[in-house]
């Protein structure tokens, strides 16, 4: 009886890892998926907090891909361990605060540990030579294999024919001739392969699947580090950077103001961790106060919050303020006029 070889596939939820997995499944290999949650993942649901995105399909693409492929998916929380990748990337950052090469090395390393613990034989990724500037350059692909420790148990089915044969190919666990030789940034070969597998529905995130490659998000993260005078974060910090308007009127505090009902509901879950405020006599957003404002600054925060309420043109409005410990008071304030709200406050 021949051995049933088993592979673990890094499933991002995008097309490439889906196709890479399908190529290996088609050769009779048992495949299970692994998906890492870093806290920076661009999830459909994060967007779906906002009303205007409600028409989007609210699905987790990694789970959806696994279901389409008929494989199990293991979602691993790596939030804590991933901090070191973000804060101290050995290979540096890309255009923003994206440590793509270190990230790939880290994830393949985690997949290798999982593979060994579960008795699997090799690892699959959807990498394509030359597709991404930082982590998928030809000269950098061997770095991922070497520094992750996966070595020649790391198979990239979409570009395998452009690379030296890996262990699964040399040992005949898998037929190299049925793998692909994709390279470069063109998506046409992937789309043609998807068609041949009758895959016609797949996620195509414009900026990849990670907020660290997003300029606006990176600015907010760097502002957080600067304000706290420390390069560090907790999961709640980086989740909140995805939600609301962020305004920093002074060094002492930042306001996070919900833009829609969904965001207000989400922010309300943080009322025990932050001072929060809301206009009481008009419709308006929930705002969280991050930092330690003086009494004068808290008054300014209330005026800004009022600016974003339906009472923005009223002479005065009542703003209810609740501290994280639950004590509440109200301030009667004049909403801040538009011309007194400088653009520079927006993070």
């Amino acid at each position: 009886m021949t051995k049933q070889y088993k592979a673990v596939s890094l499933i991002s939820g995008g097309l490439d890892s889906m196709l890479a997995t399908q190529l290996v499944l088609a050769q009779g290999i048992h495949v299970e998926g692994i998906n890492f949650f870093t806290g920076f993942c661009v999830e459909g649901h994060t967007h779906a907090i906002r009303k205007h995105d409600k028409n989007k399909v609210k699905r987790n693409n990694a789970l959806w891909v696994a279901e389409q492929l008929g494989i199990k998916l293991h979602i691993i929380d790596i939030v804590e361990e991933y901090k070191n990748v973000v804060l101290n990337p050995k290979h540096g950052y890309g255009q923003h605060v994206n440590p793509c090469l270190d990230c790939k090395i880290f994830m393949v390393g985690k997949a290798k540990a999982w593979m060994e613990a579960q008795g699997f034989d090799f690892i699959i990724t959807g990498e394509v030579i030359g597709q991404r500037p930082m982590s998928q350059l030809a000269k950098r692909m061997p770095i991922v294999a070497a520094e992750s420790g996966a070595d020649d148990r790391l198979l990239r089915p979409l570009c395998a024919q452009n690379l030296a044969p890996t262990l699964p190919e040399r040992e005949g666990w898998i037929d190299r001739a049925q793998l692909k030789d994709f390279s470069g940034r063109s998506r046409k070969p992937q789309m043609a392969l998807a068609k041949s597998f009758a895959i016609d529905d797949y996620a195509q995130p414009a900026g990849g699947c990670c907020f660290l490659t997003d300029k606006n998000y990176a600015t907010k993260l760097q502002d957080l580090w600067q304000a706290r005078k420390k390069r560090d974060y907790e999961l709640d910090d980086i989740m909140l950077l995805k939600v609301g308007r962020h305004l920093r009127p002074t060094e002492n505090f930042k306001l996070i103001i919900g833009r829609e009902e969904g965001e207000n509901n989400y922010l309300s879950g943080y009322r025990k961790q932050f001072t929060s405020m809301r206009v009481l006599d008009h419709e308006g957003p929930l705002a969280l106060v991050d930092g330690t404002p003086t009494a004068e600054e808290l008054h300014l925060a209330a005026r800004i919050t009022a600016r974003f309420s339906q009472g923005r043109d009223a002479q005065n409005v009542e703003v209810g303020i609740t501290t994280d410990s639950g004590s509440a008071h109200t301030l009667n304030v004049q909403p801040l006029p538009a011309d007194e709200l400088p653009k520079a406050w927006y993070v």
């Binding site: 999830e43 649901h45 699905r59 279901e67 008929g70 979602i75």
Partner: protein, 76 residues
């Protein structure tokens, strides 16, 4: 067989799914797990996670106050 509860409120997907996955790993086949969530995404994701991993959703997701409540039976 025993009944269990999990509080996954105020977590955005995929955290509720991860919490369910980690909890189910500690349970026995046939155990019942009731999960309390607030992210509407769980209505898609937890059933999908159950389907691909061989667990059964008991009934439909229920919405009560601000909670979304799902009940599942752990598979073999």
């Amino acid at each position: 067989m025993s009944d269990h509860e999990l509080d996954a409120r105020n977590l955005l997907c995929p955290m509720p799914v991860i919490r369910v996955q980690n909890k189910v790993n500690q349970l026995q086949a046939g155990d019942i797990l009731t999960v309390y969530c607030t992210d509407p995404g769980v209505k898609q994701d937890i059933p999908a996670w159950c389907r691909i991993n061989g667990h059964a959703l008991v009934g439909e997701p229920e919405e009560r106050d601000n909670d979304i409540i799902l009940t599942l039976r752990v598979g073999d």
